[in-house]
């Protein structure tokens, strides 16, 4: 079975059906490019994958595990906690970056991990407290001192690890010099690179990009695409919704063309861009080529 497999995703908003049964699968380390005209359901698909929307129908398997099943969901609604855990398998880079304005570059990258680490720390402390409660007399005193030292060491190691990882990620997106800057002091391209580092910090199994360059000035798209391209490695699975056809052609292992909520055509970049079969795909590609020439 494939690493990621989406089966028959359907989603309606009111009377409008936006996704009309989307199915695809992806192997570990593959990059999927999703193309299609605006309003076709690309963004909704990403939002469903990240559990920002709940599909009305369909199933999702990740690494052989049934992660989502609309029928099960209807019978027994997932708690916030369960949804949160499932979300951690996926990362999402937004079109509008959505950086946290009051945190520095470093703060944006480390915040989520620090909050998770806090939970780990609390869990560890509770465990130790349970052990402590069972003890009596002098043993208790000695254990208490030992416990304090252990917790401190644990907290320090967590913090060190998080910071080191963040520094490495920030370096990777080329923003080491801006580590203390705030989002309002950065250009759009720099913001998007921070957002990518932030999403990577939680090491998601599947990293999604929702038109990562659409909100950028044309001269800034290059730096972001370069970073995304650089992320391609053996074990990083990515889904990229994009209007940059050249980029999709170069980096993607698989391309799907979505139109009106259905997958009109799927295949390798060569197949889709070089030899499209569907009339709709042909028309779409011709249109986007024209637009580029107008630029």
């Amino acid at each position: 079975m494939a690493f990621l497999s989406v089966e028959n995703y359907k989603k309606s908003f009111g009377n409008t059906q936006v996704l009309k049964g989307i199915s695809f699968s992806l192997e570990k380390g593959q990059i999927l490019a999703v193309i299609g005209s605006s309003g076709g359901g690309k963004t909704t698909l990403l939002r469903c994958l990240n559990f920002l929307e709940t599909p009305d129908e369909g199933k999702l398997y990740l690494n052989g595990e049934l992660l989502f099943d609309a029928d099960r969901e209807k019978a027994n609604k997932n708690s916030d906690k369960e949804i949160r855990e499932k979300r951690l398998h996926f990362g999402l880079v937004f079109q509008q970056f959505n950086l946290f304005p009051q945190y520095s570059v470093l703060g944006n990258v480390t915040l989520a991990r620090k909050l998770l680490a806090k939970e780990q720390y609390r869990y560890r402390r509770n465990e130790l407290n349970k052990q402590l409660a069972a003890l009596r007399g002098t043993d208790k005193k000695a254990f208490k001192a030992q416990m304090r030292a252990e917790l401190k060491a644990f907290a320090d190691s967590l913090e060190k690890e998080i910071n080191e990882q963040a520094l490495a990620l920030i370096d990777r997106v080329g923003l080491t010099e801006k580590i203390k800057s705030y989002p309002c002091e950065l250009s759009g391209g720099q913001c998007q690179r921070v957002a990518i580092a932030r999403a990577l910090a939680l090491s998601p199994d599947v990293l999604c990009f929702d038109e990562p360059t659409s909100a950028l000035d044309p001269e800034l798209t290059g730096e972001v695409l370069k970073v995304i391209k650089g992320l391609k490695s053996g074990d990083r699975t990515m889904i990229i919704v994009t209007h940059e056809m050249e980029f999709a052609r170069k980096v993607a292992d698989k391309v799907i063309f979505i139109s009106d909520g259905v997958i009109e055509e799927k295949g390798s970049p060569e197949e889709i861009f070089g030899n499209p079969k569907s009339e709709k795909t042909k028309a779409f590609l011709a249109r986007s080529r024209e637009n580029r020439e107008l630029d």
Binding site: F51, R87, Q102, R122, Y123
Partner: protein, 485 residues
Amino acid sequence: MDTVEKHSVKRKILKTVFAIVLLVGIFFVFLVGNVGCSNKETLKIGYTLYQPMNYIDENGKLTGYDTEFAEKVCDELGYEPEFVRIEWKNKVIDLESGRIDLIWNGMTINDELKAVMLISDPYMENRQVIVAKKEILSEYTVQTDLINAESIVYEKESAAQTVLENIEGLDFARLKGASSQKDAVVEVFSGASEIAVVDETMAFSMTAEGSDFGNTLGYKDIGFEPEKYGIGMRLGEEELLGKINALIAKYKEDGTLDALYEKYIGKTLVETPGFWAVTLSLLIGFGTTCLIFIVTLGLALPLGLLISFGTMSRIKWLSGLLKTIIWIIRGTPLMLLVIIIYYVPGFITGSVILPLAAVFVAFVINYACYFSEIFRGGIQSINKGQYEAGQVLGMTKPQIFFRIVLVQIIKRIIPPMSNEIITLVKDTALARVILVEEIIMHAEDFVISGIIWPLFYSAVFYLVFVGILTLLFRFAEKKLSYFKV
């Protein structure tokens, strides 16, 4: 880890809710704890500050003809006197609601009052006089001369009103009712009215040598009928009436009342207060102002946040109910709310809450509603993307709220909040409608002693306070200026 994490979040929420409930609880215990039922052992004596009947002496002690008289009577009858300050025009409501048991404040006996309360035998005579600028006093010698006066001011519901209504041919359009005798005198002092008709005793002390009014104003007896002072009590209290009347007779007989007259009437009783005495008094009043401000702010902020969550709730009836309440509270004057919260419990249960407690409740409700709308605006102005970014990073709802959006909301709402909080500083002056002695009321009390400048001086306290707040807000804005929302 899962369950622990879940529990800790739950515990946090529970703790917060518990703390709020506790706070509100303490507040209400405080409120109920101050509900005074009509206790047999004490007699609550209603008074207004008014020399020489009831006034504060140089040592800050309440004294005067009526004060001492009431203390003597209570002592002899085995009661503990409790002096309760009232607004003269509200004396009947206060009596009926049980806030006071007796009106003992130089009250002139007349038929209208006799219809709504029991009144003792007369214990002192008084007469109404006119107060006017010294140079025109000579134009008035008899009552009918008042027909020529341009405008005449008197205290509403007082003996002055009765005597004025009895002058034939007086143009009522030229009459003006004031809310107290001192206000009537200030009207004349400022030139807004030509003549004030007030008690002789009051006129004497307000135009005394050394007062702001003494230089320009004088008073004159123009032959109004002498009138008689009596003590008022609730209908049905015949037993108490009998005892008090017996004592009045006794004191007339043994010269006690004559001695009181000698001691208090027609004398300069207190020197005009100096700068430091006024400053001290205003500081005490300012303390009450600050207390109202702090309690209101401390409780209305969390309550307002809860209400704002409620108005944004998906539970239709809850948000509808809260929106209606906000509409009512914002649509009516705060002063009205203060009066309602103060008087209504008295009429329903017969017991009264402390004025300060009523002020707290009214202010907290009022400001929580205003704050809640500011909070709602702030919360709804935050980009949905901020919540979603937190969600895809695996954060819990409380984490998203407290770690991400809260600071952004605060930054957004500082300007409207600072406006509202500065308004609150000045709204505290409304507390004096139910006789909470905040700074303006302290300042006004000096008018009875014949000085008017403490009123203007009180503005300095407000200015300094608001100045400090303005600096604090500016500091907060600066602190949060490192990022843009």
